[in-house]
Amino acid sequence: MADEVILLDYWPSMFGMRTRVALEEKNIKFDYREQDLFNKSPILLEMNPVHKKIPVLIHNGKPVCESLIQVEYIDETWPGGNPFLPSDPYQRAQAKFWGDFIDKKVYGPTRLIWGAKGEEQEAGTKEFIEMLKMLESELGDKTYFGGETFGYVDIAMIGFYCWFDVLEKCGNFSIEAECPKLIAWAKRCMKRERVAKSLPDSNKITKFVPELKKKIGIE
């Protein structure tokens, strides 16, 4: 019996991008269903009744919610190819720690950078740069966060890259100037065909943000 894999997603979401990349990297065929977050569909509400958020991965009718949980689920369910997580428990823990860090510390400031003004925006920018520097320090001179192979932390972070352009414009700063190794890492990831096909162009995101602001009522 063929697997039925559906992804409820929203194209600009850095979280949805993680799941897209994970599925593509494992060469899994899936039905991508774009969601309107301003008018949530019955299937979204049924499959994620607790949070009503995307992405939602539906595998043979059963929903998995939360992007990093989905990435791990994909890795465990389709173990062929390069595993996203190392087999060594300590290295696995380090990978999960940094995935959690990105969720807790990197995402929040981005909302202030594109969504706020003045002092709030400046504070967001400062915080974001600090967090990126911590990530860059963790990356060091490695090819990918896990070493030689593309994995969990790379997947957790790469979706932010297409947002960098609009964040730099809004916050009036250069990420490459602050974190050159991180930019080099991102470019390496984008050379992977399956990663590149999963992510929107930077300029699409840059054009989208002012429209998003209007929609949610901020100028």
Binding site: V50, V64, Q70, Y73, T77, P89, Y90, A93, Q94, F97
Partner: protein, 225 residues
């Protein structure tokens, strides 16, 4: 269990639900460990060195190597010591367990903190919001002895935060946040937890704990003035 000498040290805090859940996991697996009580108002060099990113407890040091973030630590413990597994084997069941664990930490905990930290109308709102979240947990317990099913699992260990922290604040706050009429399954589950030796051994002693919560509430009130 390993025969060679293993050094397992936990930098923790006696009243923290995040620290205690790690102790539950280690005790469940019979892993001997050294507990090092940390003063979070005056952080030790070892803590700052072991968790430079967050500077928080708990931190597990295994043969000197640090692991931080309690959910990450729990999974590390399960990966390293294979007896008495905490997470289920099936990938889908694991994904569900991880989902509920995050729900407790990111939704229930955050909202419940407001019950203790706020007063008046804001507190009432926090109580309502907490109850709405707990109704979801209540549903999960129908027909089950534990959130993990027939026996104690990952979500139960994480949700001790509800059973022995949130529910204990009721005494101090003077509000029945989790009344038995509204949450019979949760109350039944708490009784089941208390029948488990490891739980009884690892939760903070009630009287001391209540005193601690009272003192914290007072200091929070003072801070908000």
């Amino acid at each position: 269990m390993a025969e060679r000498s293993e050094e397992v040290k936990l930098l923790g805090m006696w009243a923290s639900p995040f620290s205690r859940r790690v102790e539950i996991a280690l005790t469940l697996k019979g892993v001997p460990y050294e507990f090092s009580e940390q003063d979070i108002t005056n952080k030790s060099p070892l803590l700052l060195q072991s968790n430079p990113v967050h500077k928080m407890i708990p931190v597990l040091l295994h043969n000197g190597k640090p692991i931080s973030e309690s959910l990450v630590i729990l999974e590390y413990i399960d990966d390293t010591w294979k007896n008495n597994p905490i997470l289920p084997q099936d990938p889908y069941d694991r994904a569900i367990a991880r989902f509920w664990a995050r729900f407790v930490d990111e939704q229930v905990y955050v909202t419940a903190m407001k019950v203790v930290g706020k007063v008046g109308v804001e507190r009432d709102a926090a109580v309502e919001a907490t109850r709405d979240l707990l109704k979801l947990m209540e549903k999960e317990l129908v027909g089950k002895d534990f959130l993990g099913g027939e026996s104690l699992g990952f979500v139960d260990i994480v949700a001790t935060l509800v059973a022995f922290w949130l529910m204990r604040t009721e005494e101090v706050v003077g509000v029945k946040v989790v009344p038995v009429e509204m949450f019979p399954e949760i109350h039944r589950w708490v009784k089941n937890l208390l029948d488990v030796d490891v739980i009884k051994k690892c939760i903070p002693p009630e009287d001391e704990h209540l005193d601690y919560i009272r003192a914290r509430m007072e200091s929070l009130k003072l801070k908000s003035v």
